[in-house]
Amino acid sequence: MDSAVVRKDVIAAAVLVAFGAAVVAVGLKIPLGVATDPLGPRTFPVALGAGIAICGVLLVAGMLLFRSAPAGPGLLGDMDPEDEAAADAGPFSLTRLVGPPLVTLVLYLTFKYGLRIPVPEGILAPLLSR
């Protein structure tokens, strides 16, 4: 059994349990609702939170009981050496420095003046408003 995959699944299970418990805790503060509505607005979120937490517990239980790792994609950054070399080559190449800003500028002009869709200018607003 791949220990990296198991580690990921244990972390995922812990996140599920913590998230589910948090949802239950927050959900219990939702009002009960009206008498004619047997479930009310609280039940569904609380039940789903509990369900997510139970899935986390079952995930760990399944790993311990059946010693099998549920499948998952590779780790972040788990690349072949060839791909790593390709990824590492030339971070400051002309294409990488000029290309993205140029494409961004073209897109900005197209949406603002071509399609007339307002585009948020953010930190550039003071500059562009001059």
Binding site: P31, P45, A87, L107
Partner: protein, 507 residues
């Protein structure tokens, strides 16, 4: 009005105004998007979704259908020319398609893919029309318990099938359902899970969440796992339509592909990938010359590519008839309905007949448009394939963020797309299927509201779900779906030693 009259009216609506132009644009974007590895049909549709906000519902659906149909063909272009499938559904076509390219028959392979794919798509739409109308009448007998049981069954089935681990699929589906509870409760007006934020009063924007989970997470995946991409083997590629003799050679595989695509498409959870590989195997089994498969057989391209496109009609049968999306792409179609204020569900056919028949007409038109657009747009696809991946990713992210903002000029939407992109990427890394979350988002409102409505009707008695036979059957089927993997696991462990699963999670 009969079906034929409804369909003629649908054609009139679909072709009104800029309809033809919008369809052409949709098909063109679909082909280009599908040709770019990593951008599946669902991602291409998710990217186009915000830009349909200003269109009416029918036009929006037709455009998305065009993107879907186009992407199904577009994925075969890099599969045939570069041995790299553009979409998962085109993986089977590369087995013989690339061999044909190496033999100097790339144009012919592309032509067969285009023509046979169009045939499969058209036949599947005709079958869709024939099935949806009677099914739509059948579901008129459904009440709240039946609708809840059906939606819950569909969600469990697809969440369970969308990855290698059913538990992870169910957790992802539950997360999607949970997201639909954020905001104002429609039955009582209570605020739920808003944390005092005004922006969350109307809930989580389903479009932004969907785009984040599908498209933004895919872009993060491409940045984290950059793959070296070969330049297209044939720079001056063109499309050559098959001759009559070549049609005679591939007709059997085309029919097989159509049948397989339809059957697999109707089954929720099974999509283009499964149908194309099944069609490849069946086409080889029914072929007069099976020894040629894998060595450049035209049937090896015709079968899977026909199935790949025939899935569209099959996918839409459960989607339109009962409101359960059969695939990620169908889920985006339902999201488009929600975006336009139309609640998807079993009564869509009866309450919005004109819309549905306009969609049928549009589906036929976009499949016909694939041939001229596919021939013309090939060069643009090859140019797109030559773009450096970082520039491509940056451009697509820019399109995503502008699109999510432009939909309703709400600055939270791009932020939500980014947040869900991070969540979606984290889900992919840990083996949780984002598709199950999207399904939960689409079906969540129906599941909760019908559950609560059923209990209000029965004055709190849960027996209503078992005293209604249709509901009872669906709930039994849900239990079966949940227990089946446990049973299979038990049987496997009795026969063989335990070994870790190694296949990647489904898309």
């Amino acid at each position: 009005m009969g079906i034929f009259e409804h369909l003629l009216t649908g054609f009139a609506h679909a072709l009104a105004g800029p309809g033809l132009l919008i369809m052409t644009a949709g098909v063109a974007w679909g082909i280009i998007g599908g040709a770019i590895p990593g951008i599946s049909g669902a991602v291409a549709m998710a990217l186009a979704l915000p830009y349909t906000f200003s269109m009416d519902a029918a036009t929006a659906l037709i455009m998305l259908a065009g993107v879907w149909a186009g992407a199904n063909y577009g994925g075969s272009i890099p599969a045939i020319l570069m041995r790299m499938p553009g979409t998962p559904g085109s993986a089977a076509a590369l087995l013989d398609g690339y061999e044909l390219t190496r033999q100097g028959k790339a144009a012919k392979a592309l032509g067969i893919s285009l023509v046979c794919g169009t045939f499969g798509g058209l036949v599947s739409i005709i079958v869709l029309i024939a099935l949806v109308v009677p099914l739509g009448n059948l579901v008129l007998a459904f009440g709240s318990p039946e609708i809840f049981a059906l939606a819950f069954f569909g969600l469990t089935l697809i969440a369970g099938l969308s990855g290698k681990s059913m538990l992870k699929g169910l957790a992802a589906g539950a997360f999607g359902l949970l997201l639909t509870t954020v905001g104002l409760d429609t039955l009582t007006g209570s605020l739920r899970l808003t944390f005092g934020r005004r922006e969350l009063l109307s809930g989580v924007d389903i479009i932004s969440a969907m785009i984040g989970l599908f498209a933004v997470s895919e872009m993060f995946h491409q940045l984290a796992h950059p793959a070296r991409r070969e330049t297209p083997a044939v720079v001056d590629a063109r499309t050559a339509f098959p001759t009559l003799a070549e049609f005679k050679e591939v007709w059997r595989a085309t029919i097989v592909g159509t049948v397989v695509g339809l059957i697999v498409g109707v089954m929720p959870g099974a999509g283009a990938t499964a149908s194309s590989f099944v069609a490849y195997n069946e086409a080889r089994r029914w072929s007069k010359r099976p020894e040629l498969f894998g060595k450049g057989s035209m049937e090896g391209v015709a079968g899977p590519e026909t199935a790949n496109n025939a899935v569209q009609g099959g996918d839409l049968v459960p989607t339109l008839a009962i409101g359960i999306p059969g695939s990620n792409s169908a889920a985006i179609m339902l999201a488009a309905l929600i975006l336009h204020g139309i609640v998807p569900g079993p009564f869509l056919m009866s309450q919005h007949t004109e819309l549905v028949f306009t969609l049928f007409a549009g589906l036929i038109l976009v499949n016909l448009l694939m041939i001229p657009v596919g021939v013309v747009i090939l060069r643009a696809c090859l140019l797109a394939l030559r773009l450096p991946p970082p520039s491509l990713v940056a451009s697509i992210l820019a399109i995503i963020f502008i699109g999510t903002f432009a939909a309703d000029l709400f600055v939270l939407n791009p932020i939500l797309a980014l947040i869900f992109g991070v969540i979606g990427y984290g889900m992919r890394v840990t083996g949780f299927p984002p598709a199950a979350t999207v399904l939960g988002l689409v079906l969540g409102f129906m599941v909760e509201s019908e559950l609560r409505r059923s209990l209000i009707i029965s004055h709190g008695s849960w027996a209503i779900f078992v005293t209604h036979p249709i509901s009872a059957v669906f709930l039994l089927a849900t239990i079966g779906v949940l227990l089946y993997p446990v049973f299979l696991n038990y049987r496997r462990r009795r026969k063989t030693p335990v070994s870790p699963a190694t296949a990647p999670a489904g898309s």
